[in-house]
């Protein structure tokens, strides 16, 4: 496991260099959603007994922690195919596990920053929810899943175009349907069945329940944890195979 901190440290250096740009870009889409959906409808529409803005914030938290954690896939890709920096890690005496850990932690860090941005935006929209340990645990598990998935995808794809395909066909649909903008229960049964299999649905449910001060379901947490472990294992395999 030695060496994970070096990988993580490198990502933090880059993160620090880009922090202001990143904060700006992390605020744009949540802000647009809040204005377009939240502010415009917020006063009148109530969902599950909450104002729409209150309903939306936990959804955005789940969505952003997913997209930002998954975002490291394209970073890894660019540094692998364009800058050849992956070679530095491959030639170093560190295990694949250490490499994956470093990158996954970097993805989770990005996710946490994005969540902080959303919660801060929420304050400006007058949303005060309870951000309990269970809330953060759900956020961490969610970002763990998608950061691991990101590493796996980054190792599998052969170019940046493939990468965009994965985002378009997997991440974006999940972001919109996984209980982010509306309760999954409003969809037909068969659709609910499919969405029930997606980790983001459970993450959004758990994050929202915790934020509303309700008791989230243990089952969802277990499922998220399991999904995370599976993705992490796949990521490890993919790194092993990334040597041609």
């Amino acid at each position: 496991m030695k060496g994970w901190s070096a990988v993580y440290y490198r990502e933090l250096l880059i993160l620090r260099r880009r922090l202001s740009r990143m904060l700006a870009s992390m605020s744009v889409s949540p802000l647009l959603y809040l204005i377009a959906f939240g502010y415009a409808m917020g006063g009148h529409v109530r969902v599950e007994g909450y104002s729409y803005t209150e309903f939306l914030i936990p959804g955005l938290v789940a969505m952003s922690s997913m997209t930002q954690a998954f975002g490291i896939a394209s970073e890894i890709n660019i540094s692998r195919f364009y800058w050849h920096i992956f070679e530095e890690f491959q030639a170093a005496p560190i295990s694949n596990r250490a490499y994956v850990c470093g990158e996954v932690l970097a993805g989770m860090t990005r996710a946490l920053i994005a969540v902080a941005v959303i919660l801060t935006l929420g304050l400006f929209f007058g949303v005060f929810l309870s951000y309990t340990p269970l809330f953060w645990l759900a956020v961490l598990l969610n970002s763990f899943i998608f950061a691991s998935l990101a590493v796996a995808v980054a190792m599998l794809v052969k170019s940046h175009a493939d990468q965009a395909m994965v985002s378009n066909f997997i991440i974006t649909p999940m972001a919109f349907l996984g209980g982010t903008f509306f309760p999954v229960e409003r969809l037909p049964e068969w659709a609910q069945g499919i969405l029930f299999l997606l980790p983001l649905t459970h993450a959004a449910k758990s994050v929202r329940a915790a934020a509303f001060g309700q008791t989230p379901s243990l089952f969802s947490y277990l499922l998220l944890f399991l999904a995370g472990c599976i993705c992490f294992t796949i990521a490890l395999r993919c790194v092993n195979r990334a040597r041609d």
């Binding site: 050849h84 070679e87 530095e88 005496p93």
Partner: protein, 288 residues
């Protein structure tokens, strides 16, 4: 220090290495000379753990590259063919991350990086982002980075490709200095002068096979010491002579121009493989 036995490599249906056997003793500066596509980079990538071998064995300082991968990696420094610095990070940060990847404690890392930056004469550039450096500086930083963890063997893959003559000489001087400090050096190149100037020993690599492995002097001595390039009817060929006196007796035909020069490694490579290291077929005209 480096031992390779029957190394082969297939990329799907490309047979890139066809049974390489090599031994590089400690402290030697070994040059691996061959045209583009000969398999030089593939050999280095296998030894440094970036690429899987298809069959065969290799040891670095006694550590088998498969059975003791991490130990083997600790023995070597790598300067790859294409620049792979972290462009957004500063020179210092690039070296620092490398030191961390090799588990160096903080004090030792600082000291060593400082020493190396002085060594490559770039102390004043330590806070410059890598992307702002010139090509020659990037090379020097990459060499310094590969030395942070004090490797026993240094792999340099075409260290001066694309650099102009003055900067190339500066890098050569740096490489010599590194060898004098006791590091074994494995260098690939397709520049004749580079191998002649630097190497204690040269292996000729052609289409995945080693066709000769000896000191530059001995490789060249097989042909004689002097060469005359003659151009007649748009064809160029070369005749070799043991001594300058013998060459002096050469009598050109009509309409023929010729030049007398010393034999070089290119001649040796050409006589063994029928092609030039620089990739041109014999007799072909130089592009102007």
């Amino acid at each position: 220090m480096i031992k390779i036995r029957n190394l082969t490599k297939y990329y799907k249906n490309i047979h890139a290495l066809k049974g390489i056997c090599l031994h590089v003793p400690e402290g030697e500066l070994f040059a691996y000379l061959g045209p583009n596509g000969a398999g030089k980079t593939t050999t280095i990538r296998i030894l440094t753990g970036l690429t899987q071998l298809s069959s065969g064995d290799a040891w670095l300082n006694g550590f088998h590259i498969h059975q003791h991968t991490l130990d083997a990696k600790r023995q070597c420094g790598l300067v790859p063919q294409s620049v792979n610095l972290d462009q957004e990070l500063t020179v210092y940060e690039n070296l620092d991350v490398h030191g961390r990847l090799f588990h160096m404690p903080s004090e030792k890392r600082k000291e060593k990086i400082h020493e190396l930056l002085t060594y490559i004469d770039m102390e004043d550039r330590k806070d410059t982002p890598a992307r702002q450096l010139s090509g020659g500086m990037k090379r020097r930083v990459m060499i310094a980075r590969s030395l942070v963890h004090s490797p026993k063997v240094l792999f340099l893959d075409e260290p001066t490709v694309g650099l102009d003559a003055g900067i190339r000489r500066r890098i050569w001087a740096l490489i010599k200095k590194i060898q004098q400090n006791g590091t074994t050096i494995f260098l690939t190149t397709h520049y004749i002068e580079e191998a002649e100037f630097l190497a204690d020993r040269v292996a000729f690599l052609d289409e995945g096979k080693i066709v000769a492995n000896d000191t530059p002097q001995k490789l060249m001595a097989r042909l004689g010491e002097w060469a005359i390039d003659r151009i007649a009817d748009n064809e160029m060929n070369t005749v070799y002579f043991e001594t300058r006196e013998a060459a002096g007796t050469y009598s050109p035909e009509q309409h023929e121009s010729f030049t007398l020069r010393r034999v070089n490694l290119e001649d040796a490579f050409l006589s063994l493989t029928g092609k030039k290291v620089s990739g041109k077929a014999p007799g072909q005209k130089e592009k102007s």
